[in-house]
Amino acid sequence: MKPNYSIFKLTVFFILVALLFNNCKKPTDGITWTVDASVFKSPVLIQFENANSKSTTALPASFTVQITGQNADQVIMAAGGTDFTVMNGFLPLALVSTAKPSASNPVIFNVYASIPGFAPVSQTFSVTNDTLPVSHVLFAVEYASPPDGTSYTDQHDGLTNGVSGAVTISNPTVGSMTETSVITIPSGTQMLDGSGNLIPASDLESKVIHFGTGTQGSLLSFPGGFNPVDVSYNGQALHNVTFKTGGFLSINMVAGSTPVKNFSKPITVTSELNSSLINPLTNQPVQIGDSIPIWSMNEQTGQWKFEGNAAVAQSLTSTNKAVSFQASHLSCWNIDWWGTPCGSTLTVRVHIPSPAGFRPQYEMVLVDANEQYLGGLYTDNTWGTVETLYDGMVTVIPTLPNIGKVKLIVYTRRGDPTSKIAETALFAPCTQGTIDITINPPAPPQLVNVHLNVHGTCTNKNVIVNVTTWVYLYKLNAAWWDWIIVPVVNGQADLQLEQGAKYFVVTYYGGWYVTEGTFDKNNTNFPAQNGLQGTATYNAATNQVTADLGFNLTCQ
């Protein structure tokens, strides 16, 4: 019996040893499986803002937009779906995975928003790159508080069964807006809807915003931008045009409760021109007798249509010069020289000698000799507003207006002419090729490098989802311009933030997620405020804070 007992003990011993050593740790301990959910292309963030940064009126927390245009079917929300709802001013879009945007075959779509209390907003986008994230701000002009450099009139007039008497609608000078405009409706004019039917109403409400050319705040609100991609010129479709504007008017009329789209008789629009306006064809201040093309815009499709030329004349009410034209339908009416862009591009080399590694978010704009805003630094064929600049940055402006002289200006705050920090000399945009601009910024606050990991956590699986979206960071109790938006691709983003400052951190991914916390040299918790939470850890060797932020996601 004794030998058998020993055999039993030894057998049990071996089995126990084998099992014990093989199971002290599960193979999957500490492992979370990860999925990259970046199936869409060309992230496009559209941020809606009140065009008047000094207004206290916020945009509605949510509103829907219409996506139209020739490639609208290729547009999708960045988090999936086609519920194009702007939440807290943000509309993160992308292109479907089958889209193939390129410079020779851009994906073109239009975004149109009708926001209560604001003039309609319309912008056409041309996407030429399938990976480059592009952010763009659309400025909504609040009727009650339009930006400096504009004027606004809201006028009621009586109708007789939809037929107007003689009506005059005047926009006066106000603030920096030195140009007036007058719209006259001849007596006996029928108010017609979009189908050309008479609107048998007794009241006509006219809302007219006149955008002057004297301020960037006004020009930033130019509907569609100065590089339109959907233009009809005498029946010819043009997809690559630059505008140099002499001013524009957003005219909206409602008869009763029905929008007026057409008139039985043309109305007359007279618009004064800014006294400093330069004719890009002559590179001289605009003269009496000069001719300026007139354009109308279908706001819902974003298409511009050439309506004819208007001759410059002396204003009857001021020393300004003015143009008059007739309009038989309503939309935006635009007084713009136009041209085919330069065939060349412009390479911009940015120099920020000190402090080393500083990456400020400044605005770089292209202006004419009179410093009239022509556009912001391009990141695509759209016009960016604020860019992250850094020493050694080389960027290419692919589309340039073919006008005599331009220059680049850098502002520390978008739209604020008092914040100019750097500029180039005047140069010929079509032949310059490359230009250097040197920025000497004021001493920045102590900065810390931040790496963001942003993910959705499946609530029902051991899976995290690396999302492609945008993160908006706003410094608490700071000025309106103290915000940063960064694209997050497959959950990753790098940026610089003020060390020790507390930031709201916001992201949108089918829902609105918020947290707040401090990025400094201590490990920090980011408690959930609205579904977003995580931790930040500091690595002294790299002087980098890595913030892991997540939100719950339903997975199937």
Partner: protein
């Protein structure tokens, strides 16, 4: 996913279990012991009358796979065997993983050559202490997860093609010491007998790799954690039946 990793490890450990416990035909044929050396050399000793160096051919099946040995008797209580074993096991669609609707294949491919000595401490009891080493020419366990249905994350749907696939491999290639017990007497009295072994190899520390494609590609970053987790998985239990032929 946890099941995948566990299963391919279990596959290594128990891919041919249920061996052992046999009859020893030779046990029924006890032979008289040498009177003066019965305690140490029950079958005689080299140079003494009755001893001869015996040889057997063994075909085995067990957790180290299928293979064969040649055993040689140096002393009445000390023998040695040299041989090789292979474990080609493919287990398609044995399990499903929770994280993805997928097809999972498990593949274990172990090939070893070994040299093991057996010492009989209790004379005619048939119990052997076995010690030696093997060299694992191949020591790979591979699990492949291939999603076969779309998955939805929030409002985003990823097709099976967009998800890609993930292949997890752990390799224990190298020299592995062996320690174990043998049961029943070696060397058939007549032509054939059956013996059993119970023991374990102590494998080299595994080297793991995760190769993933498509949306699963970021999981390659889990390799360090996986390798750390598997660093203690070095014991390869051997449960084996030996079919011995007298030469």
């Amino acid at each position: 996913m946890k099941k995948v990793v566990l299963l391919f490890l279990i596959g290594i450990a128990f891919n041919a279990k249920a061996q052992d416990i046999t009859q020893n035909f030779a046990a029924a044929q006890q032979q008289p012991l040498m009177a003066s050396h019965s305690a140490i050399y029950p079958q005689g000793a080299p140079g003494l009358p009755g001893f001869k160096h015996r040889v057997e051919l063994t075909v085995f099946a067990g957790t180290q796979g299928l293979g064969g040995d040649i055993r040689y008797g140096f002393l009445p209580r000390l023998t040695a065997r040299i041989g090789a074993g292979v474990t080609p096991v493919n287990l398609p669609n044995l399990v499903q993983v929770n994280e993805f609707n997928s097809q999972v294949s498990l593949n274990v491919n172990f090939t070893n050559v070994h040299l093991i000595a057996d010492f009989q401490p209790f004379g005619g009891s048939g119990l052997r202490l076995a010690f030696g080493a093997g060299y694992f020419i191949k020591g790979d366990a591979t699990g492949t997860v291939t999603p076969d249905e779309a998955a939805k994350y929030g409002n985003i749907t990823l097709t099976a093609e967009q998800l890609g696939n993930m292949t997890i491999t752990s390799s224990w290639q190298g020299v592995a010491p062996y320690l174990g017990l043998g049961f029943f007497r070696t060397f058939p009295r007549l032509f054939f007998n059956i013996t059993a072994d119970l023991g374990t190899y102590y494998l080299p520390a595994p080297q793991t790799t995760i190769i993933a494609t498509g949306a699963l590609q970021p999981n390659e970053a889990n390799n360090d954690q996986l390798q750390q987790n598997l660093s203690a998985y070095r014991w390869l239990p051997v449960i084996q039946l030996n079919f011995n032929f007298k030469l």
